[in-house]
């Protein structure tokens, strides 16, 4: 089952913040970190992220479950760099054919892996604590996103669990009509592709009907929309964004101070 509900405890102090503020804070934090390739700044950032996690009401186990695929990618980065690193300075640790592992390579790999984690975590935390309806409301009211587009996307998002059910129904319908793949892997792949295609067709058909239902209730009637639920962007929200910027800046400053800073560009 694909989860579409937020996983955090809703009462947590930071989880309750305005979704736009949370998103902005995550993006600001990530963007500042992108500026460097060294391991120190992201390591500090990860420490900060893990420290504030309880304020978002997320348990470490839940985060680990969402983030584990990142570890596989970390392995990928390591292999890539061992084979293709540009900078092979430093003491040679291993040398075997094309594989040349130096201290410099390892430091770079460590920096990249940490940076990947440090940049990804804020987004994971924000989306794990944000309800799609609230995000759309806040995007419209606080970020001036066009209402028709945000609501259209929100209505479509509601179809996610339905699409999953639909996948099962399509598979059953085919079986009932005598269509299956047996053990043949090629036939399996073909059946998978044709099921995915049927799903897409079904999704578009649903979308067409959903649009009709929305029009039937006056969506896009040219009348200025009102909002039933106000989303407030308060001082505390602005503060959250500012603190995120300051903390990320501080991590960079430390890395400059200890002399490990390596700018991304230049």
């Amino acid at each position: 089952m694909i989860g579409v509900e937020p996983v955090a405890a809703p009462g947590a102090p930071l989880a309750r913040r305005n979704p736009v503020a949370k998103l902005a804070a995550a993006l600001v934090f990530s963007f500042i970190l992108i500026a460097t390739l060294d391991p120190v700044a992201p390591a500090i950032a990860i420490a900060i992220e893990l420290a504030v996690l309880p304020l978002f009401g997320i348990r470490y186990r839940v985060l680990a479950r969402r983030a584990w695929p990142l570890l596989a990618s970390a392995g990928g980065i390591l292999v890539t760099l061992v084979l293709f690193a540009a900078d092979r300075s430093g003491r040679v640790l291993v040398e075997a054919g094309p594989v040349l592992v130096t201290e410099g390579v390892l430091v770079t790999a460590l920096g990249l892996v940490l940076r990947m984690l440090a940049v990804a975590l804020p987004g994971i935390v924000v989306f794990a604590t944000t309800d799609a309806t609230d995000l759309a409301d806040a995007l419209i009211q606080n970020a001036k996103a066009p209402a028709r587009f945000a609501i259209g996307a929100l209505a479509a998002f509601r179809l996610v669990p339905l699409l999953e059910q639909e996948w099962r129904m399509i598979s059953m319908a085919r079986r009932a009509r005598g269509v299956d793949a047996g053990r043949n892997p090629v036939a399996k792949l073909r059946l998978f592709v044709s099921t995915a295609f049927a799903l897409l067709v079904g999704a578009i058909r649903r979308g067409t009907r959903l649009a009709v239902a929305m029009d039937a209730r006056g969506f896009d009637a040219g009348v200025p929309r009102t909002v039933a639920r106000r989303q407030h962007f308060t001082r505390a929200d602005a503060l959250l964004v500012a603190v995120a910027a300051v903390l990320a800046g501080a991590a960079l400053a430390v890395s400059v101070a200890v002399g490990t800073f390596r700018p991304l560009i230049g």
């Binding site: 799609a132 309806t133 929100l154 209505a155 998002f157 509601r158 669990p161 339905l162 639909e166 129904m169 399509i170 059953m172 319908a173 085919r174 079986r175 009932a176 009509r177 005598g178 269509v179 299956d180 047996g182 049927a198 058909r205 649903r206 009907r209 959903l210 009709v212 239902a213 929305m214 029009d215 039937a216 209730r217 006056g218 969506f219 896009d220 009637a221 009348v223 200025p224 929309r225 009102t226 909002v227 039933a228 639920r229 106000r230």
Partner: protein, 477 residues
């Protein structure tokens, strides 16, 4: 409080040669309550869509005029509320309250007034939950009520309801009808489409019958219409109240068991159930919404793996696969032996034309092309789908789609046929034809299992019934 006026109105959907509805002259005064009748495919749903302003100019050709209070319906949408047959496609938001509020926001109702109006609409339809409940957690009947609340919150002058009780159990259908009656303001105009006339009559004071080829066949107060045209209307397919349908009992006693379920269940959808179907027997499965009837049908059909208990196919049905449960059979063998008709016809379609849809099963099970043709043509003719052979299954009317899905399962003449709500949305004529087809199959020694909410169908065809209760509660909330 809106009046409707049609003059020579007609609509032809893009890609179709025939008119969906044509030559309709009709005037409905403000505050009238109208039951719109007509055979399946006569264009009732199309007419409602036109009145709701939901037929875009680029999706077909119009003839004549259609007006609401003198306006083009596309420009009078704020006067009209509509509830379609399928509630799932009408809910827009993820939370119940938001969904009702959606229409109010669109109309620019001031923020402070929205929630009181939402609460009022939910109360009027007897919605049992808090407005924060996820719409995904509602049963079909509850979704239907929520959709009705969404329409009523807008205080429409004209309310359009298209078979609002299809697929509901009798208790749920009564609740919806009560909700409509209690929730309507005295001056709201109502147009209701419903095949089962007797249940709908208390809601209306006028009946309009559409003719299949075009035009209005009868119009007036219900008593007068049925007294004057009763026989002719019944022949044309209208469910004229008080006219019984002939029973089709089994001609011979039932034979070998075809399939046996022992403590069959799938928690939490279906509680353990025992049942047996024999050759030459029709078994009806009854029970309230959410009792697990559709789940049982899928389990018996070899499409779901049982959670608990067993499904055992008799030697006659299983052939070389004796000893293996149906859900492990290869698909072509399964399709030859057990036919399944899904509750939602659209879940079942896998091709792009009505003809291919019917031909798929016979072709898959290896019949020669000539035999395929004659089977398909015969079914098309009997179920009045012949003129739609080239149409896309997804563009059919509600009743046509249902008949097609039953026909696809009949096409392979399986030893055991399992159908989920085979008769919903049918006019009297197509209903009788469906019952005849199923009765013929049974009398030829096949087994028939039908999940149904339709008491007439049970009375006419079923040799035995099984009634499921909701797992856990045993009743509705």
């Amino acid at each position: 409080m809106s009046a409707v006026e049609l003059r020579g109105f007609g609509w032809r959907h893009a890609g179709r040669k025939g008119w969906a509805v044509r030559g309709v002259d009709l005037r409905i005064e403000a505050g009238e309550r109208v039951l719109l009748l007509g055979p399946s495919g006569a264009g009732k749903s199309t007419l409602l869509a036109a009145l709701a302003g939901l037929l875009p100019e680029d999706s077909g050709t119009q003839e004549g005029t259609i007006e609401i209070d003198g306006l083009d319906p596309r420009k009078a949408r704020e006067r009209v509320g509509v509830v379609f047959q399928d509630p799932e496609t009408q809910l827009v938001m993820a939370r119940c309250g938001d969904d009702v509020a959606f229409g109010l926001e669109n109309r620019g109702v001031p923020g402070a007034e929205i929630w009181p109006r939402v609460d009022e609409a939910l109360r009027r339809v007897g919605f049992p939950y808090h407005r924060g409940r996820p719409t995904a957690a509602l049963s079909g009947g509850e979704q239907q009520r929520l959709a009705l609340a969404g329409a009523l919150a807008l205080r429409p002058g004209l309310l359009l309801l298209d078979e609002p009780t299809a697929n509901l159990d009798p208790a749920g259908a009564t609740l919806i009808r009560q909700a409509v009656r209690d929730a309507l303001d005295a001056d709201t105009t109502l147009i209701l489409v419903e095949h089962r006339v007797a249940e709908a009559l208390p809601l209306v004071d006028r009946v309009v019958v559409l003719e299949a080829g075009g035009g209005v066949r009868a119009d007036g107060p219900p008593d007068a219409v049925f007294a004057a045209h009763g026989d002719a209307l019944a022949d044309a397919g209208v469910w004229v109240p008080g006219r019984a349908v002939p029973p089709r009992r089994a001609a011979a006693p039932a034979g070998e068991p075809l399939i046996t379920a022992g403590r069959l269940g799938l928690p939490p959808r279906l509680a353990p159930t025992d049942l047996r179907v024999r050759a030459g027997e029709a078994l009806a499965v009854l029970g309230p919404n959410g009792a697990g009837k559709s789940t049982l049908a899928l389990l018996l059909g070899g499409l779901l793996r049982p959670g608990t208990g067993t499904v055992t196919a008799g030697a006659d049905l299983a052939g070389p696969d004796a000893g293996t449960p149906p859900h492990r059979w290869r698909a072509p063998a399964l399709a030859r032996r057990i036919g399944s008709v899904f509750q939602d016809p659209e879940h079942q379609f896998v091709t792009n034309t009505v003809f291919d849809e019917l031909a798929l099963g016979p072709r898959r099970t290896g019949q020669p092309e000539a035999a395929v043709r004659s089977t398909v043509d015969g079914l098309l003719e009997r179920l009045r789908l012949a003129r739609l052979a080239g149409a896309n299954p997804y563009t059919l009317s509600g009743g046509e789609a249902r008949r097609l899905s039953v026909a696809t399962a009949l096409a392979t003449a399986p030893r055991l046929l399992i159908c989920d709500e085979p008769t919903f949305g049918q006019d009297r004529r197509t209903w009788l034809e469906l019952v005849d087809l199923l009765a013929e199959l049974r009398d030829a020694g096949h087994g028939v299992v039908a999940v149904t909410h339709d008491p007439d169908f049970v009375a006419a065809l079923a040799d035995r019934t099984v009634t499921l209760t909701r797992p856990g509660t045993g009743d509705r909330p």
